[in-house]
Amino acid sequence: MPRRTMIEAIRDAMDVSMGRDDKVVVFGEDVGFFGGVFRCTQGLQAKYGKSRCFDAPINESGIVGSAIGMAAYGLKPCVEIQFADYMYPAYDQLTQEAARLRYRSNGDFTCPIVVRMPTGGGIFGGQTHSQSPEALFTHVSGLKTVVPSNPHDAKGLLIAAIEDPDPVIFLEPKRLYNGPFDGHHDRPVTPWSKHELGEVADGHYTVPLGKAAIRRTGSDVTVLAYGTMVYVAEAAAEETGIDAEIIDLRTLLPLDLDTIVASVKKTGRCVVVHEATLTSGFGAELSALVQENCFYHLEAPVARVAGWDTPYPHAQEWDYFPGPARVGRALLETMQA
C-alpha cells in the first residue's frame, strides 16, 4: 500500500471526492493556482479547472458565507481557512448560519459544507498560527467537529466529511502534516513514510465520523486524546511504563462515548489531553462525561493536561505545549491517586 504524508492524504481525499462528484468544489485563500500554503490542494485546479478549485479573496466570512449559499444551491463545497486562528471572522457564518440552516428551515435548506483548517501548535507559530479552537465548535449545536491524527484517517475522515449531509469542521493538526510528532522537539522527526498509519489506500474509502480508534490497548489508565496529543500520549506511556489505553477520538462531535466509557470502566482511571487551553476546553466536556458515566468505576479523579490558559506564546513554545513529560506526570499521579 502506498505511503503518503497527511498533506498528500488530504489532497488525495479531495481529488477522489472531486473525481466522483462534480458537485464538490474547493476554494480558499491561495488554494487554486498555487495549491495552498501547505500544498494540500496542489494540482487540483489543473486537473478539475477553475470552476471546481479556485482562489478566494482574503475574507473568511466571505469564504464560508458563499460556501453556505453554494450548499443551499446544491453543491458540496470543501473550503479552506488558511489557519484555524483566522476562522473568527467566519464564526458568525459557521455558528449562526451553517450550523442551523437545516434546523431553522426544517430541512427546506441544508448545508453540506466542509471547512478545513490547519490547527494546533508545536511549530513556533506564536499566537495566531498555533491555536486549537475546537471547543468553540463543539459548543455549537448543528456542527460536526473532526480532528484526524494520521494520513490514513485524514483521507478517510475527509471523504466522509465531504459526503456528510451536515456541516463539518475539519481541523488538521499542521504539526502532523509531514510526520507524527510526540513532543520531543529535540529529536529528529520521523516522516510518515516510516509509519504504518502513513499507509493510505488509493481510491475511495471512508473512516466513519463519530467513531474513535484505540491506538494502544492497556489496562492501567485510559487516555483521551486527539490530533498531535495521540503521539505525545504514546510517548508518555512508553516513558513511564504505564500500561495506558490511548483513545484517539477522531471526531469530537458526535463523540464516540461508548468506546470511552467501555475503556474507563475497564481501567478505572482517565487522563484527558489536549493542546487547547484548559478552562472550558473540550477536556472539560470529556471529564464531565466520564464522571457522569463511569463514577462507580473511577479509582482516581479524572485528570486534564492541556495548554495553559494563556495566548499561545512564541519563545516559550515548549513550556506551553503539553509534552510527554507533563502527560507522563499526569499518568503517574493518576496511578498513585
Partner: protein
C-alpha cells in the same frame, strides 16, 4: 486652512427629532422619467451618475413617463396593486394578533410594499431570493399561502418550521425564498455564493440578495460586494434604504458616502438608485438588473429609496426617536396610493373598486387567519411537539441528542 486646534468627534444626527417638524428638504429627487435607461450591456463606468440619482416612472399626476415606463400591462399592474394591498392588510391583522397575544412578535412592511412585491415579478421560476425579515411581499406576490405564513407566525401545529423559528422568519425553497436568519447581513454573501454555484453549474438561475440601509454597515455586506465583483456572480444586490435602522437614521450607516448605491461603484459594480415607492420603477429596475445577471454580465447593486412608515417591530415605539408625522411628509408618498392613482388615470380602476377590493382582501385575510388559528396560536390550541425541538438539527440524530430527547421524556 483647517483648524489645527483640538480634534472634535463627529456623530451624524438626523435633521429632526420628536417634537420637530419633519424635514426632507435634503432629499434630492429626480423628476419622473428624467433618468435614462441604458442597455444592460452598458459599460458600468459610464453610468456612475445613476448611483446618485433616482429612477422614477410615476409622476405627480400618476402618469407613467420616461424610458423605464411601459413594461407592465394594466392587468399586471392591477395584480401588483392587489399584492401590495394584501401585504398591508396581512401586516395590519398580524400586528393586531401580536397585540392580542396570539403571537410574540411581528414586523410590518408599511410603506415598503412596492419593493418586494414588484421585485418578485422580475424574477423567473427557480431564481432564489435571500431576503431579510422585511420582504414578505416576495411570498405574497409568488402566491405562497397566507395561511402557511400565519401558521409560522403563530408557531402552531401546522407551522412548517415546527415552532423553531421566531415569527416571520419564513422559509420556502419552492417559492425561491431562502430561510430567514436573525443575524443581519449574513444572507447577503450567501446569495452571492448561491449565484456563484449557479454559474459553476452552468445553470440559468440567478440570485437576489437583500439588505437594509443599517445592515450595509455589517462586514458581510462588504464580503458580498467583493465576491460578487471578483467572480461576476449572477446576483442582484438589493439595498432597501427605508431611512431607519430601528432608532438609528441612515446617516449613521451611510457616513460620508453620497448614497448606498455609491458603495457599489468602488467594487466596479453597476449601481442604480430607484424610487422604492414606485411599483413600476422598482419592477423596471429589477428586471434590468435580473437581465444583466441572466446575461452573464455580472452583479448589479440597486438601492430602493423608501421610508419605513411603521414601527421597526411590534417591540418598537418610533415616537421616541422621530417625529410622529414624518411618514406623511415623506416626499415619495405611499406606494399603494401612487399605483392606485396611476390605474385610475389609466381608466382601469376607481375609488369604488379600490374600496371594494380592500373589503375583499380583508375578508380573504380574515378567512386565512381563522383557518390558521384553528391550528393554534402561540399560547393556545395545537402546537408543535417537544419532540420536534430535537429533530432536524442533523440529517441523522446523533447519540447525545437521542439521550437528551429521552431525558426530556419524548
Amino acid at each position: 486652512m483647517a483648524d489645527a486646534g483640538m480634534l472634535r468627534f463627529h456623530v451624524p444626527e438626523p435633521e429632526v427629532r420628536p417634537g420637530g417638524a419633519p424635514d426632507f428638504s435634503n432629499v434630492t429627487i429626480a423628476g419622473a422619467g428624467s433618468v435614462p435607461r441604458p442597455e444592460i450591456s452598458v459599460d458600468p463606468r459610464t453610468i456612475r451618475d445613476m448611483a446618485f440619482s433616482i429612477i422614477r416612472v410615476l409622476n405627480r399626476n400618476g402618469e407613467a413617463v420616461g424610458p423605464w415606463a411601459g413594461l407592465l400591462s394594466s392587468d399586471e399592474l392591477l395584480e401588483g396593486l392587489r399584492h401590495m394591498m394584501t401585504l398591508r392588510t396581512f401586516d395590519a391583522r398580524m400586528q393586531m394578533a401580536q397585540r392580542q397575544g396570539k403571537t410574540s412578535f411581528y414586523m410590518q412592511h408599511l410603506g415598503e410594499e412596492a419593493v418586494s412585491c414588484a421585485f418578485r415579478k422580475a424574477l423567473a421560476p427557480g431564481d432564489m431570493n435571500f431576503p431579510t425579515y422585511r420582504q414578505a411581499g416576495l411570498l405574497i406576490a409568488d402566491g405562497y399561502p397566507m395561511v402557511t405564513m400565519m401558521n409560522q407566525i403563530y408557531s402552531n401545529e401546522a407551522d412548517p418550521l415546527k415552532g423553531r423559528q421566531l415569527p416571520i422568519m419564513y422559509s420556502s425553497k419552492e417559492h425561491g425564498f431562502f430561510s430567514i436568519s436573525g443575524n443581519l447581513a449574513t444572507q447577503y454573501i450567501q446569495a452571492v455564493g448561491w449565484a456563484m454555484a449557479s454559474a459553476i453549474s452552468n445553470d440559468s438561475k440567478i440570485a437576489a440578495a437583500w439588505i437594509g440601509d443599517g445592515s450595509t454597515a455589517e462586514s458581510d455586506f462588504h464580503s458580498a460586494l467583493v465576491f460578487a465583483s471578483t467572480y461576476k456572480a449572477p446576483v442582484v444586490l438589493n439595498v432597501v434604504n427605508n431611512q431607519w435602522a430601528i432608532s438609528t437614521f441612515q446617516g449613521i450607516a451611510r457616513g460620508g458616502s453620497g448614497t448606498f448605491a455609491a458603495r457599489g461603484l468602488g467594487f466596479g459594480i453597476p449601481s442604480l438608485r430607484v424610487d422604492g415607492n414606485d411599483y413600476l420603477a422598482v419592477h423596471a429596475v429589477a428586471k434590468w438588473a435580473a437581465e444583466r445577471a441572466r446575461g452573464n454580465l455580472g452583479p448589479t447593486l440597486v438601492e430602493y429609496v423608501t421610508y419605513r412608515a411603521g414601527a421597526h417591530s411590534s417591540s418598537d415605539d418610533p415616537s421616541a426617536y422621530r417625529p410622529k408625522t414624518e411618514s406623511d411628509a415623506w416626499p415619495l408618498g405611499d406606494p399603494i396610493v401612487r399605483l392606485k392613482n396611476h390605474l385610475i388615470g389609466l381608466g382601469v380602476w376607481s375609488d369604488e373598486r379600490h374600496a371594494q377590493a380592500e373589503a375583499e382582501i380583508l375578508d380573504t385575510v380574515i378567512a386565512a387567519q381563522k383557518e390558521a388559528e384553528s391550528h393554534g396560536t402561540l399560547h393556545a390550541g395545537g402546537k408543535p411537539s417537544t419532540r420536534d425541538m430535537f429533530e432536524g438539527l442533523y440529517a441523522e440524530m446523533p447519540p447525545h441528542l437521542r439521550r437528551q430527547r429521552q431525558q426530556a421524556g419524548v
